[in-house]
Each structure stands twice: as structure tokens, then as C-alpha cells.
């Protein structure tokens, strides 16, 4: 029986060469449903480590991330075979990808542009000259025995990623934080291994071998799972906005490894462990927090932390050692002899008469950068008067911003009303039934029509909620149809309403007496009765006005 290596599998192979063998099993398969049903990551306390025991110092955790993002391109980094998520095994493999002798790497222009765009969006310095190197290690899914990467001089360095952490009583405050970016480099992805334990063999599919990756290395400025998760989410949004990577963790387009250590503030940094096999943002936060706590517990009990690689087992919620006794890996880096340095230009250094296909102009790329999430959020706040927290929610939920903007386009209602309905009612229904925006039974047009009816005072707010509930049933009716069918229109006929109020007052003389005696709350009872009689079709404010008028007369 064949299965993908990944979640829940205990690492059992020993290593060939000395050291922690590089294992990059891609997370495959979909994220399990339970992730979406749970409360958001943001509800964890902000970076609280275990309370120190009496007489002990506080602990501080240090987290560094290495993020690999698959570049969104038609063909691979150094060859012309296709980049595609699923295809028959070994059908997207060129001779170069299979490492046949006599083949040479040819750099894909689109991948370089993607790296420059990402570097610019992350405030990096773009190196006008960068170099390619070979990183050697043996694994069946790396046919060449080395990976082409950029170790000496990567394409971008010294950037920053700003993200917003939710805090405050109701997670409604957004605190901006920044993590420094050490570097961004271009490198090749490896193939995929399918382990068949029954027959003691590994099946190799090289479709993914040679796909372009952007490795983004973050400085260890993060201190807990929540910060890491939020930073990675922001990076995901940026990459998606740029179009440089689809950054879908479930499909292995975004992979994160975490380096974690703990120490007492003021003392030197502790021994770090590397945690791999993190294939969702949720697990990322859990794994990091678990590991921090594990290290603290270990040290407080007099143990020591080994510099090792650990794997996160999501069912058990813990990290386990990928036991490694043979010392550090030696990758024997050497310059890639088949590739000259990668030279980039800007407006001032662009050589005259150069073939535009053969030169990359950093300034030109900078000018064509699309709107980044942070700018989008600012714009939403300015344009629609919403709170910053709302803009975060709109961007964080896949497809929600587009939904919101489509409603805005089609409705006359005030933006604040739209914001409220989309973030509260619409999103509430989605979350309750664990649906994505794309699975919503209510279309932007339908919601826009509903909000128009509300805005034109054709229906009351309560009626609107009823209509929304009906729309959710997916019976194909428009809001207008539901309103007429259920007769939810606001009573326009003031005369009829006055009559109703009159008869209600006659039917409940006690309440009227209470009112006349000076009990102000009695009027609410009357209003309630009238509303019920009108099946919520009357505007409560109007009912109140009529009643008060009658009472005073």
C-alpha cells in the first residue's frame, strides 16, 4: 500500500552521510477540516511563556524562520519543463531535471523577476550581482546529488516584514511588529518521495524537481508561535498580491522550517532545534509554542537541549526528534560552474541598446509592483471609514475582500453598513458552517440587493436578517422575491398602522394604565405587541412615535 510521506509518520531512516540529512518532504494533501472550525490563532495570549517558578528567572524564546515559496511560473528555474501541481508521475521532467549527463541549467527570466519583486516588496537591498552555488547532499529525489542555490551572494538581503498582531481585550487592537529579513535566494526544489514500507522501497516522482523556489530567511526576531504565524500569513498575502507565489501551504507551495531556542534575558542564546513538517499556519503556531515549552521544561528539570531536527506530529500536538547522532551536515558548497554571475540593472546602469529580453531593470520592476496588503488595508480604512482591525479581517479571509468590493460596487447602501453586514452577518454564517467565501450560497449581487432594500427602507433591519437567512438556504430566490413571498415589506400605510396601534391599546388597557402612571418601560411592551401584529413589517421607531402621540392626546 502506497502512501505519501508526511503527517504522522515517524522518521525512521538512518543517515548515509554525517549529519542531519536534509529532509524536505513536501506537505501534500489538504489541510484537515478541524483547522477552520477552531478559534483564530490570534486568540492565544501574546507571547506568554510559562510562569517562572519561585526564584527562577523569566524565559525568553527566540524563533527564526526559513520559508520556501514555490515561484508561480510556467516553467522551471533552470529548464523548460512545466510547473504544475498534479500530473502523471515524471511527465513534467526534462533531461536536465533528471540530471542526465550533458545537460546544462538555463535561467528562467520570470523567476528572477519574481525574486526581485519579492525583494522590493520586502524592503530588501537587491544585489546587482548575485551568484549561484551547488549544495551537495545525497537523497533519491535529488538526482544530481546537489541543489543549485545562492549561498555566497543571494539576490536580495536586509529587508523587513511588518505584520500586525491582534491584542487587547477583544483582540480588536492591532499592534504593528517587524521582523528583519536576512536574505532571499533563488534555488531549485527537489522531487517527491513516496515511501513503500511494505516492499522496502521508495518511489520517486521528479515532476517537482527543478521548480523555482524563493527561500526567505527571517532573522530570529520572533518570540512565539503567534508572531510566527502572523508574520507568515502576512508574507503569504504579500506573495499572493505580487503574484510571485500562490503560497498555498496545503499544496506545498509554501513551506516553513522553524529554528527555536530559549534563554534567560540577558544571558547568551540557548541551543536551538529545528522543527520541520509544518504544513499549515495553525500547526506552525502550535509546533513553535510546544517546542518552546518543551525546551523550558527540559531546562528547568536540569536537562539539556540537543541541536537536532525535530518533526511536528499534529495528531499528538508535539515535536519529536528525527534522531541524529552523526554530527553536522557538510554540504560542500562550491560555485555553480555552469552559470555566470546574475547581473541586474537599474535605470542608471542599463546598458544602451541592450536586448530588453536579456536585461532586468530593477527600477522598472519597482514601478510595476501591485498594491501591497498593508497599502490595501490603509486604503480600505481611508476609503470606507472602517477600523484597521476590519481591514485585517477582510484581507485575512480568502476571497472576502473581493466579495466586499463587489457588494460595494452594486449597492447604494453606505460602506459602513456593507462592512458591518459582510464582517458580522455574512462572515458569521460562513464560520458557523465552516464554509469558504467561494462556497457561499449568497452572492455579492444578492447581498447588494438586500442592502438596497434596507437602505430604501423597504424592509426593516429585522426583516433583512430574515431575508438573509432565507437566501442562505440556496433556494435560488432573489431578496425581492423573498420579501414579497413572506410579505416582509415595511408598512408604508401610516393610517393602517395607526389603526393597529389604536386597537392594540384598546386590547391592553392595563399596559396603557401603566404608561399613564408614568412607567416608561411599558411602552416597549406595546411596541412589541404592535410589531408582532405586523410581523415585523413596521418600523419600531414609527410605532413608538404613533403610540406616544396617541397617549399624549
Amino acid at each position: 500500500m502506497l502512501r505519501w510521506v508526511g503527517r504522522g509518520r515517524l522518521w525512521t531512516f538512518a543517515r548515509v552521510d554525517g549529519g542531519s540529512c536534509h529532509r524536505r518532504e513536501a506537505p501534500t494533501g489538504s489541510t484537515s477540516n478541524w483547522i477552520r472550525g477552531q478559534s483564530s490563532v490570534a486568540q492565544q495570549p501574546l507571547c506568554m511563556t510559562q510562569k517562572p517558578r519561585k526564584g527562577e528567572h523569566k524565559w525568553a524564546a527566540v524563533v527564526g524562520l526559513e520559508i520556501h515559496a514555490q515561484i508561480s511560473s510556467n516553467s522551471k528555474l533552470f529548464s523548460g519543463s512545466q510547473v504544475r501541481f498534479s500530473a502523471p508521475p515524471n511527465s513534467l521532467v526534462s533531461f536536465f531535471d533528471a540530471s542526465l549527463p550533458g545537460t546544462l541549467p538555463v535561467l528562467n527570466r520570470r523567476c528572477v523577476e519574481a525574486a526581485v519583486m519579492t525583494g522590493l516588496a520586502l524592503n530588501c537591498h537587491i544585489n546587482k550581482k548575485s551568484l549561484f552555488d551547488r549544495k551537495h547532499y545525497f537523497y533519491a529525489d535529488l538526482p544530481a546529488g546537489y541543489q543549485i542555490t545562492q549561498q555566497r551572494l543571494p539576490i536580495a538581503v536586509n529587508g523587513s516584514l511588518t505584520y500586525g498582531v491582534c491584542a487587547g481585550k477583544k483582540q480588536s487592537q492591532v499592534i504593528p511588529k517587524t521582523v528583519r529579513i536576512k536574505q532571499i535566494q533563488l534555488e531549485q526544489d527537489s522531487g517527491k518521495s513516496l515511501h513503500d514500507d511494505l516492499r522496502s522501497q521508495t518511489l520517486i516522482d521528479l515532476n517537482r524537481a527543478g521548480v523555482g523556489l524563493l527561500e526567505v530567511v527571517l532573522e530570529p526576531d520572533l518570540s512565539c508561535g503567534e508572531e510566527a504565524a502572523t508574520a507568515v500569513r502576512e508574507l503569504q498575502l504579500i506573495l499572493q498580491a505580487l503574484g510571485t507565489s500562490q503560497a498555498n501551504m496545503a499544496e506545498g507551495q509554501l513551506r516553513v522550517d522553524a529554528n527555536i531556542s530559549v534563554h534567560h534575558p540577558g544571558e547568551p542564546l540557548g541551543v536551538r532545534t529545528e522543527v520541520k513538517n509544518l504544513n499549515s499556519i495553525r500547526f506552525l503556531a502550535k509546533a513553535i509554542d510546544y517546542e518552546i515549552q518543551r525546551q523550558i521544561n527540559e531546562l528547568e528539570n536540569g536537562g539539556e537541549i540537543l541541536n537536532e531536527t525535530r518533526s511536528f506530529h499534529y495528531q499528538l500536538g508535539c515535536t519529536m526528534s528525527m534522531r541524529d547522532k552523526e554530527g553536522k551536515q557538510d554540504y560542500r558548497f562550491m560555485p555553480e560552474p555552469n552559470l555566470p554571475p546574475l547581473v541586474l540593472y537599474d535605470a542608471t546602469s542599463l546598458p544602451a541598446g541592450a536586448d530588453p529580453q536579456q536585461v532586468i531593470n530593477i527600477d522598472q520592476i519597482r514601478e510595476t509592483l501591485p498594491e501591497l496588503p498593508s497599502v490595501t488595508r490603509e486604503r480600505l480604512v481611508q476609503q470606507y471609514g472602517m477600523l484597521l482591525e476590519h481591514s485585517f479581517t477582510l484581507l485575512n479571509e480568502v476571497g472576502l475582500l473581493e466579495f466586499f468590493q463587489n457588494v460595494i460596487k452594486e449597492t447604494r447602501a453606505e460602506p459602513k453598513k456593507v462592512t458591518s453586514w459582510v464582517l458580522n452577518t455574512f462572515l458569521g454564517y460562513l464560520k458557523q458552517q465552516n464554509l469558504a467565501v467561494s462556497e457561499s450560497p449568497v452572492t455579492p449581487s444578492a447581498l447588494a440587493e438586500l442592502l438596497d432594500l434596507l437602505d430604501s427602507r423597504t424592509i426593516s433591519s429585522a426583516a433583512a436578517k430574515q431575508v438573509f437567512e432565507e437566501l442562505w438556504k440556496r433556494e435560488g430566490k432573489t431578496p425581492g422575491q423573498i420579501v414579497s413571498e413572506k410579505q416582509l415589506e415595511l408598512m408604508e400605510d401610516r393610517g393602517a398602522l395607526e389603526q393597529l396601534c389604536h386597537s392594540m391599546m384598546e386590547a391592553h388597557p392595563q399596559v396603557v394604565m401603566d404608561l399613564k402612571k408614568g412607567n416608561p418601560r411599558a411602552i416597549n411592551k406595546l411596541i412589541g405587541l404592535v410589531r408582532k401584529a405586523t410581523q415585523s413589517r413596521a418600523d419600531p421607531a414609527m410605532i413608538k412615535e404613533i403610540l406616544e402621540k396617541k397617549l399624549s392626546s
Binding site: 548515509v16 523548460g80 519543463s81 535561467l107 527570466r109 522501497q201 560552474p337
Partner: protein, 118 residues
């Protein structure tokens, strides 16, 4: 850096420890005294580079450094040759290459034949 650690004594002898390390890293079996002797001669040959005075000279990054790196357009022009590629494989299962399971551990160091070079 890329230069391997020079033999500490500078005498050109390669220790058994270094040989074992290299064998594991490169999966190369030195196997014999002659092979090690050849290695030592090769290192001595390369060491003569040190005789060149390189003070104040910027090292080259690559012998190709004056060349232009050609940029290919992002078009799909290759692939779809699974049958051809799989012919190279000793064993194949349904269009997958077959490899031994994971990484096979080398015999433990103390289980190995004592290395002939002393």
C-alpha cells in the same frame, strides 16, 4: 568559504579520520593505500597555487564572470518524456523511479574493516 580545511600539519598526509569523513560525504570508496597516496599527491600539486602572490588581487568568482548569463523566456518547451527517462532506471513501478528506502545507513564505523592506510 569553499577551501577545505588544510591538513593541520601541512605535511600533506591525510589522516584516516579525514578519509572516513570524505567517504561518507561523497560516497566514494577510497579502498586502497594507492588511492590515498594519489589524493595526497593531488593536494600537493594544488598546493603549489599558494606560491602565487595574490596580495591586493580581487579573487574571481567564476571563470565565467565576464560572460553574460542568458535569460530564458518562461515558456514550456520540454517534458512529457517519462517513458524515455524511465528506461534509464533499473527498477520502475508504474512510472515512478524506484529507489532503496530512505537513506541506508553505512555500516557503523567500528564494524568496518580497519582502514589499510595508517
Amino acid at each position: 568559504g569553499f577551501t577545505s580545511k588544510a591538513d593541520p600539519q601541512g605535511s600533506g598526509r591525510i589522516t584516516a579520520q579525514v578519509i572516513e569523513h570524505l567517504e561518507r560525504l561523497a560516497l566514494v570508496d577510497f579502498g586502497s593505500c594507492e588511492a590515498v597516496a594519489r589524493l595526497e599527491k593531488a593536494i600537493a600539486f594544488a598546493d603549489r597555487l599558494r606560491a602565487v602572490d595574490t596580495d591586493g588581487v580581487e579573487p574571481m568568482e567564476s571563470v565565467l564572470e565576464d560572460r553574460c548569463l542568458y535569460l530564458r523566456s518562461d515558456n514550456v518547451v520540454e517534458g512529457n518524456c517519462a517513458d524515455e527517462l524511465l528506461q534509464n532506471s533499473h527498477r520502475v513501478v508504474e512510472e515512478y523511479f524506484v529507489a532503496p528506502p530512505g537513506n541506508i545507513s553505512l555500516p557503523k564505523l567500528d564494524e568496518q574493516e580497519p582502514f589499510p592506510h595508517s
